[in-house]
């Protein structure tokens, strides 16, 4: 959502430049200042600190001010790290695929099947209602539903669909993916819906006139024209899932690992430089992913 802040701050600055074309007008700098301060204090400085700390040595009680590469050597030399990163990327990939499927068809329904903007916006707001509660509460609320004696098992047992409670429902990879999908689908719906609302309806008619059936229209017209929304949604979902540790620890029941949990564990053992090194590696991986997505999709089209 920082993109909206970004453009809002950038536009007045551009306007000021136009009124005084010569040199660098003071007004433009002043207008850019608040955003620059916010990003500087809350983003740039912490990341610099993170990178600095990741190269520092430490013992069991304190950080030592000497430059070392051992944090990275240990992290990259450990099979556990690689496995944890692999599992986290797997979660991200599965969650991405499911949220993309759901997000695409929910958006399609809202944008093309629902008649009238009132209904469209109304239903869209309904989608966002769960976001009035926090991520953690929404995750925890799955426990009574999915537990051994939870609602799902009780109902299935009651109707004799199953004879033993299903144990994979909670504290499992299934539970983790379910929570991720639940938490993140709206981040896919919003940008794709936005893209689809910009598709000229006569294009759908033109496709039909040219002999395209439903799936051909989806594949040849709707999907390519929703690409930007899909790209933005993908960035949201992947960055949120890659950095998560709460959902994995609640839904995995302490049995599952993720990069977030690994970093959290290192911090709880006061191994800040090791945690920082893993965080920098995670950041690098996520940035590479975002870079690759931006290579495929020009998200500036939507801004």
């Amino acid at each position: 959502m920082s993109t909206t802040v970004d453009t809002a701050a950038a536009r007045p600055a551009a306007g000021a430049t136009r009124t005084r074309a010569e040199g660098r007008p003071l007004g433009a700098w002043l207008l850019a200042l608040p955003l620059a301060l916010v990003l500087g204090v809350f983003l740039v400085i912490p990341i610099i600190m993170l990178i600095v700390v990741s190269f520092l040595d430490y013992n069991s009680v304190q950080i030592l001010w000497s430059f070392v590469l051992s944090n990275y050597q240990e992290a990259l030399g450990s099979a556990v790290t690689w496995e944890t990163f692999a599992v986290t990327i797997k979660y991200a990939a599965i969650t991405w695929a499911i949220t993309l499927f759901l997000g695409f068809w929910l958006s399609y329904f809202l944008a093309f099947e629902v008649r009238g903007t009132t209904w469209q916006m109304g239903l869209f707001l309904v989608c966002s209602i769960p976001f009035l509660t926090s991520n953690i509460i929404r995750t925890i609320s799955w426990i009574p539903a999915l537990g051994r004696n939870g609602i799902v098992n009780s109902v299935l047992l009651h109707f004799h669909i199953i004879h033993q409670p299903l144990t994979f429902l909670l504290y499992s990879q299934f539970a983790i993916i379910l929570a991720f999908v639940h938490l993140n689908t709206l981040f896919m719906v919003t940008p794709i819906f936005n893209s689809m609302m910009r598709i000229d309806r006569t294009l759908i008619e033109a496709a039909r006139d040219n002999g395209a059936g439903f799936w051909q229209t989806i594949w040849n017209v709707v999907l390519p024209l929703s690409k930007t929304g899909i790209g933005i949604g993908t960035i949201f979902v992947i960055t949120l899932v890659m950095g998560d540790f709460v959902s994995v620890s609640i839904m995995g029941g302490g049995q599952s690992a993720s990069v977030g949990i690994m970093i959290q564990n290192e911090m709880s053992q006061l191994q800040y430089p090791a945690a920082a090194a893993n965080a920098v590696i995670l950041l690098a991986i996520v940035l590479i992913m975002v870079f690759l997505i931006l290579r495929v999709v020009d998200i500036r089209k939507e801004l």
Partner: protein, 328 residues
Amino acid sequence: MHPALDVELISVTKRYGSTAAVENISLRIPRGTYCCLLGPSGCGKTSTLRMIAGHETISEGDIIINGVNVSDLPPVKRGTAMMFQSYALFPHLNCIDNVAFGLKMRGVGKAERRARAGELLSMVQMEKYAERLPAQLSGGQQQRVALARALITRPKVLLLDEPLSALDPFLRGAMREELKRLQRELGISFIHVTHSQEEALALADLVVVMDHGVIVQSGAPREVFDTPATAFIARFMGGHNVITNGHGAFAVRADRCRIAPPTANEGLPGSICSIEYLGAVVKVGIATEAGGQIVALLPDDQFFAAPLMMGAPARLVWAPQDAHPVAA
């Protein structure tokens, strides 16, 4: 079913809720006809076109295209192709892929469909722009691409929704000639929706004037212009004076009217209230004694041989054979 017809509408009605956009219209369009559906906005001409195209369901009646009742068929099975008012080019595809789209949907291989699309692009003189995206083209160029895209599936009937309205006047004239040339060369029927009577007269073999969801007159352009059936048509076609006297209403072409001195014992008395020099003709307005304004278009040489003065009393006269009775 008539073998020599491309399109036949039989008592076609389109209702939206309780209001009828098109009411019980019947029309026969012979083979290879340039047909213009003409009328003011909201007259039902676009709904009619969209029903022929299959983008709008028919509430009642039937549409026969090339001897087949297509009323319940999807657009692709009708042998029609539509050119949309906004052109509706796919913004993510370049010109050649836009034109080839219909063939791709029919499963034609890439090399073959691109070759065909190339031919059609050269037919509309756009082959140089094959790799451009629609956003990189001017309105006139986009229209040519849209035309090529509509023609690639070899339709029997081409449907054009206000094709010239988005162009500037110079391009409009050039494109108009081009549409007529294409229609003649392809030998298929064009059905062209327009609100410009000038466009309809210049292009059509068959002018169909619509108003309030019904066809008020259809015929050859000269017939519709020379003998408008109603006062509405006379006013809509322009260039006519609609005059009511004791026997009813009649229409006289303004260019057949002359200005006579106030002493003449025929015509309508009044005083000259406007003089506009239009180049080849001079448009003289007369405020009649009965109220209202009538117009004479005088050849410039005739006008300047005996210039008229603003406010001068005068009479508008015409030959009796030029007055055509019209229904009110």
